[in-house]
Amino acid sequence: MHRRLAVLVMMIFGANAAWAQSPPPLDQAEQIRILLERVQQLEKRVAELETKTPAAPVPAAEVSVNVPAAQKPETAEVAPAPGPMHQHEPTESQATTRQLEARYPSLQIRGFGDVNFSTTDQRGATSGFNLGQLDLHLASALSHKVTYFGELTFNAQPTGYTVEVERSIIRYDYNDFFKLSFGRYHTPIGYWNTAFHHGAWLQTTISRPDMVRIGGSFIPVHFVGLLAEGNIPSGGAGLSYNVGVGNGRGSIISRPGDAGDNNNNRAWVANLYSRPTKLYGLQMGVSVYRDKITLPVVSPAGNEFREWISAAHIVWTKENPEFLAEFANVNHKNILTNAITNNQAYYVQVGYRLPWLEKTLKPYYRFEHTHTPFSEQVFTNQDLVGSIVGLRYDITNYASFKSEYRNTKRLPTDPRVNGAFFQTDFTF
């Protein structure tokens, strides 16, 4: 019996030792490296201190900060006093300090990419792989008040690649309450369009909701002009705003007027949102957008329309659970005939980061609906009722696998389409 017990104990400790000797995961290895660096720094520091003469008696002012601040809060602020700590020669730490001081311009580049596979039961559709957008994001501080942001995408086409300037923004910060920028933006209507941009890795799902689809026209995804933004002093309400003036939709209504407006009317946009301090993770907002659309083809009913977009969103940005919901109404009024149409779209998305497997799994579901009336004169029909259910698996902190099942229906006469979609996306 004792022999059996001894064998069991040895097995447990053997397994235990093997566990302890298994190679550490990547993050752990990084932590060990950092710890070793810290140990080396501390050893160097001790060696420096040991070579110095014994320290002079510590001035009273310095003693006061070394006692717990709770006892002497009024002495927490102490002017730099000459003492042993400040007499040493320039050290490696000071060199690092100099390196960390801001330098201008300071260009940072980050890339995003994705590779996809899809298969559906839609008649005429083919299954297969496709390369998503290769997205380069540039950020460069030009001074502590002026910053440049850019975003370029490389898009696979049947005949090659197209390059698109998605965003190009120069921003002047006066303070937290007023920041003024000029350039090409993602229009601040609703939430998704300015939260996730073109990097698929940033969003939970494989694709954007149809109402904010890249290349779509339901809302103007891009905007060329100027934008003022900032916080609003509002206490716990945590209000912020964006207000912009720009060219509005171009002759191709899915595109902004990059090279110039196609009429003498400027579009304007206003977005107001709240991040209440008591409910960290919650964001609620409303947006309005006003424009005059001039279509390139003149019909007997005219080619000029007033556009009025009103939108609202509420999101819970934490992942346990994640909740995103957005609604937008696009109102078009024919200037010649005064005929009015209203188009609506909304989506609701929920996700949940599961607590197991180092929180790498996140199942999600999204329902979306778009309605365009038959009398609509600006849009082609965009009707959609669709559901997606999927699972995101974060392979590392910077790459993920996503798999989705989609069920969508466009027109009432169209059949439902079922599809399976897979994506790996990453940032580098």
Binding site: E37, A79, S93, A139
Partner: protein, 165 residues
């Protein structure tokens, strides 16, 4: 079950419990450390912040102390206790979520750069004294002169209701 078998089973359970307990990461984390002080450059025109204001600063939603003085965020490298406290209490994020948060923040053109990573207390104090507008999180046992300790929700490190621990 005879007495010997009971003894054997008890011994096995004890060994298993000891093995599991020794390997549990929570064993090290449950021991309470010192408070983490919110420390700024001594020229920063602020002495008291609420926890939600500290969160706004750390989330990059407040980027200026005033129109002439930008906030310079200093965060300890992974594995430092101060960083664990900041992530747990203020960000309420895991290490992975924290990294992703800042990638997204820069991508949204809301900030130009992530917080600066500091690898030691020495480096932290060097930067705090050298960079106007710098804010860092320091173990309150390792305080040094030349910096300002902020009250958080009206409390200073050592108070019973001090939130950062």
């Amino acid at each position: 079950m005879n007495a010997t078998s009971k003894r054997v089973l008890t011994s096995l359970w004890t060994i298993l419990w000891a093995v599991v307990t020794l390997h549990s990461p929570s064993a090290a984390q449950t021991s309470r450390g010192a408070d983490v002080a919110v420390v700024v450059n001594s020229d920063t025109p602020i002495a008291d912040l609420s926890l939600s204001e500290v969160r706004k600063v750390l989330l990059g939603e407040r980027q200026y102390w005033n129109s002439k003085l930008p906030v310079v965020l200093l965060i300890r490298a992974p594995a430092a206790r101060e960083r664990d406290v900041v992530l747990r209490v203020i960000y309420q994020m895991s290490e992975a979520q924290f990294k992703q948060y800042w990638v997204a923040k820069i991508f949204r053109a809301e900030v130009a750069a992530p917080p600066r990573i500091v690898y030691s207390n020495d480096m932290q104090f060097e930067l705090l004294t050298a960079l106007p507008g710098a804010i860092a999180f320091v173990d309150s046992r390792n305080m040094r002169p030349g910096v300002k300790v902020l009250r958080v929700d009206g409390h200073v490190p050592g108070d019973r209701d001090y939130p950062l621990r």
